[in-house]
C-alpha cells in the first residue's frame, strides 16, 4: 500500500512538472514579457536593463527553476491587462468558481444517483425510458446552449430568476460567499443547473449500467436466496458496490466541472476564475493563462490522487491486487 501511495505521488509530481514546463514555455516564449510591460517610448538600453533585472538573460534552466520557485510561493507575475498581481486576481475569483462547482457537483450527485438506481431497478418502466432520453439530451446539448435556454425560459420569459452575476455576497475573511443571502442563492440556481446537467446525465447512466451489472452477480443471487428483503439486497448489497466506480468518476468530474465552469461563467457573467481565464485567452494575457493552467492542473492532480487512494481504501479487491503486484 505504501509503495502504491509513493508511486502515485511521484506520478502526480511528474505531471505537475510537465504542466509547469508548458506554463513556463507559454510565459517565457509566447509574446515578449518586456514588450508587454513598457511603452513604445522606452529605449533599447532601458529594455535591456529591465531584461537583466527580470532575469530574462539567465540560462533557460535557471529561469525555469526560478519560475517554479515563484509559483510555489504563489507569485505568477502581473497581468498584462489589469497590471495587478495575477494571484490577487485569482484569489478574488476563486470562491465564486468553487461555490458554483461544488453546488453543481452536489446537484448532479443528489439527482443522478437516485435516477440511475431507479432506471436500473425498473428497466422497462416509462419513467426509466424518460430518464434515459433526458440524459441523452443532457449529454448532447452543449453547456452554453443549456444556459441560454434556461435564461430564455426562467429569466427572460418568466422573470423568476436572475440571469447574470452572483447576487449579494457576504465576506467571511478572505472567502466571499453567496450562500447566505437570498439573492445569492437565487443567482446560483440557473448556473448550478447548467453546469451540473451534463454531469447528472453522465452519473445517471453510469449508476444505471453499473447497478445492472452488479445485480447479475452471484452474491446478489445468494443474498436473494437467503431470503433477504429486496430493500436490503438493493441498497445494502448492490448499491454499495455500485458506488465504488461512481465515486471515482464523480471525483474526476469535479475537476472537469471546474474547467467547464469557464463556459457557464461566460454565459451567466459569473465573476469567477473561468471568466478571468477566458478574458485572458481573448487578450493573450499570458501570465493569467499560465497561472490558471498551473492552478487547475494542481486541483486535478490532487483530486486524481485522492480518488486513487480512496479507491484502494474502499475496494478490498484492489488492495489484494496491489499486494500481489
Amino acid at each position: 500500500m505504501l509503495a502504491f501511495i509513493i508511486r502515485r505521488m511521484v506520478q502526480a509530481l511528474l505531471v505537475m512538472i510537465v504542466v509547469a514546463l508548458i506554463a513556463f514555455t507559454l510565459f517565457r516564449f509566447v509574446g515578449d514579457p518586456v514588450n508587454q510591460m513598457v511603452g513604445i517610448e522606452t529605449s533599447a538600453q532601458e529594455r535591456e536593463l529591465l531584461r537583466q533585472q527580470l532575469g530574462l538573460n539567465d540560462p533557460v534552466v535557471v529561469q525555469f527553476i526560478h519560475f517554479i520557485w515563484s509559483a510555489v510561493h504563489f507569485d505568477f507575475g502581473a497581468s498584462y491587462q489589469f497590471k495587478q498581481p495575477v494571484i490577487d486576481l485569482i484569489a478574488d475569483r476563486f470562491p465564486a468558481t468553487m461555490e458554483l462547482s461544488v453546488v453543481s457537483a452536489l446537484f448532479s450527485l443528489v439527482f443522478g444517483i437516485p435516477m440511475g438506481v431507479y432506471a436500473a431497478l425498473h428497466r422497462n418502466s416509462w419513467l426509466s425510458r424518460f430518464f434515459l432520453t433526458v440524459s441523452l439530451v443532457g449529454i448532447s446539448l452543449p453547456t452554453f446552449l443549456t444556459g441560454i435556454l434556461l435564461i430564455f425560459l426562467f429569466a427572460v420569459s418568466l422573470h423568476w430568476l436572475p440571469s447574470f452575476g452572483r447576487g449579494d455576497v457576504v465576506a467571511l475573511g478572505f472567502w466571499t460567499t453567496g450562500l447566505l443571502t437570498k439573492s445569492g442563492l437565487k443567482a446560483l440556481v440557473l448556473p448550478g443547473i447548467t453546469l451540473g446537467l451534463f454531469q447528472l446525465a453522465l452519473i445517471m447512466r453510469l449508476v444505471r449500467s453499473e447497478m445492472i451489472e452488479v445485480l447479475r452477480t452471484d452474491y446478489i443471487k445468494f443474498a436473494r436466496a437467503r431470503g433477504l428483503p429486496d430493500r436490503i439486497v438493493y441498497f445494502g448489497h448492490a448499491l454499495k458496490n455500485t458506488l465504488v466506480p461512481v465515486m471515482t468518476i464523480a471525483g474526476l468530474q469535479l475537476g472537469s466541472i471546474i474547467a467547464f465552469a469557464i463556459i457557464t461563467e461566460t454565459v451567466f457573467q459569473w465573476p469567477g476564475m473561468g471568466l478571468l481565464f477566458l478574458k485572458a485567452v481573448q487578450n493573450a494575457d499570458i501570465p493569467i493563462m499560465s497561472a490558471y493552467l498551473l492552478l487547475v492542473a494542481f486541483i486535478f492532480v490532487t483530486i486524481n490522487l485522492i480518488v486513487d487512494l480512496l479507491y484502494a481504501a474502499v475496494d478490498p479487491r484492489i488492495r489484494i491486487d496491489l499486494r500481489q503486484a
Binding site: L14, P142, F144, I148, A259, L278, A284
Partner: protein, 317 residues
C-alpha cells in the same frame, strides 16, 4: 454483345456489394431501431442542407452586397412584422437566419470533420507506433497521453487557441482562424484514438501474420499500415462517430466563447453568440434557431454513434 457483357459484368459486383450491405446484420439492426432511423434522417437533412447551401439558401450571408441593414431584426415569418422572404427572421446585420444556419452548419460540419480526421490520423499513428515499438517509445507517448487526459478538451482547445492568438496577433486572416480551430479541437481529441489503437496493436503484433510479414522482410512501416491497421480500425470508427458530435459541440463552444470564428464568417456557435446579445430584447430567433439546429445535429450524431457501438459489439449480438 461485348457491350452488353461489359455492362452486366460491371453491374454484378456492384449489386452484390449492395445486396450484401442490405442483408447484413448491421443494416438489419439499423432498420430495427426506429430512433436510429429517425436520427439518421435528421442528420441527413442537416448534412444535405449544409452541402447544398449555395443552391438552396435564399441569401448568401457571406456576401455583403446582398445584405441590407434595413432588413435587420426582422422576426420569423409567422410573427407580427415578419417577412416571408425571411422565413426564420434576420439578425442584427440583416442576414437571413435560415440562410446563415445553412451556411453555418456547413462550416460547423466541415471543421468538425476536419478536426476529427486530424485527431484520428494523429492518434492512430501514435497508437500504432506506441503499440508496435513498445519500450521507451511506448512509455513516452502514453505518458504524454496520460498528462493530456488529466485535462478536459475544452481547456486544451482554449489554451491552444489563446497561444495562437498571442503568437500571431489579433490580425489573423479568416482562413487561418479555421485552421487554428481544427488544430485546437483535433489536438484535444487524439488521446482516445492512441489508447485504443495501442491496446489493439499490442495484441495484433504477436499474431502469426505479423510475424510472417516480418520474416519475409517487410518494412515495419508497411506492416503497420497494410497489415495491422485494417485489423484495428473497427473500434476506431465508433470513436470517430462519437467524437464528431463532441468536435462539433467543442467548435460551437469555442466560437460561442468568442475565440473561434469571427462574426463575418458565422458558424452555428458564432450565431448563438450574436443572438445571445439580443435575447433580452425579445429577439429570441437569432439564438434559438441555430441552437436547435446544433442540438439536433449533435443529438442525432450521438444516437448514430450509440447505435454503431452496439451494432459492432459482438457481445451484444
Amino acid at each position: 454483345m461485348s457491350a452488353e457483357q461489359g455492362a452486366s459484368l460491371s453491374l454484378t459486383p456492384r449489386r452484390r456489394w449492395l445486396s450484401r450491405l442490405l442483408d447484413s446484420d448491421i443494416a438489419f439492426s439499423f432498420w430495427q431501431s426506429k430512433l436510429t432511423v429517425f436520427a439518421a434522417a435528421v442528420a441527413l437533412v442537416i448534412v444535405l442542407g449544409a452541402m447544398l447551401a449555395p443552391w438552396i439558401a435564399p441569401q448568401n450571408p457571406f456576401d455583403l452586397k446582398t445584405l441590407c441593414l434595413l432588413n435587420s431584426h426582422v422576426p420569423p415569418a409567422w410573427q407580427k412584422g415578419g417577412d416571408l422572404h425571411f422565413l426564420l427572421g434576420t439578425d442584427d446585420q440583416g442576414r437571413d437566419v435560415l440562410s446563415t444556419i445553412l451556411y453555418g452548419s456547413r462550416l460547423s460540419l466541415a471543421i468538425g470533420i476536419m478536426s476529427v480526421a486530424f485527431a484520428a490520423v494523429l492518434g492512430i499513428t501514435l497508437g500504432l507506433i506506441a503499440g508496435y515499438a513498445g519500450g521507451s517509445v511506448d512509455a513516452l507517448i502514453m505518458r504524454a497521453a496520460d498528462v493530456q487526459l488529466t485535462f478536459p478538451a475544452i481547456l486544451i482547445a482554449l489554451l491552444i487557441d489563446g497561444t495562437a492568438h498571442a503568437l500571431f496577433g489579433q490580425y489573423r486572416d479568416e482562413s487561418a482562424t479555421i485552421w487554428v480551430l481544427v488544430l485546437s479541437v483535433g489536438l484535444s481529441f487524439w488521446v482516445q484514438y492512441a489508447r485504443t489503437v495501442r491496446g489493439l496493436t499490442f495484441v495484433e503484433r504477436n499474431k502469426d501474420y505479423v510475424l510472417a510479414a516480418r520474416l519475409i522482410g517487410i518494412r515495419p512501416g508497411l506492416i503497420l499500415v497494410r497489415h495491422i491497421l485494417p485489423n484495428v480500425i473497427g473500434p476506431v470508427l465508433v470513436i470517430v462517430t462519437i467524437n464528431l458530435a463532441l468536435a462539433i459541440i467543442l467548435e460551437a463552444t469555442l466560437s460561442f466563447l468568442g475565440v473561434g470564428l469571427s462574426p463575418t464568417q458565422p458558424s452555428l456557435g458564432t450565431m448563438i453568440r450574436i443572438g445571445n446579445n439580443f435575447l433580452f430584447a425579445g429577439e429570441w430567433w437569432i439564438a434559438i434557431f441555430p441552437g436547435i439546429t446544433l442540438a439536433a445535429l449533435a443529438l442525432s450524431v450521438n444516437l448514430l454513434g450509440d447505435w454503431l457501438r452496439d451494432a459492432l459489439n459482438p457481445k451484444l449480438r
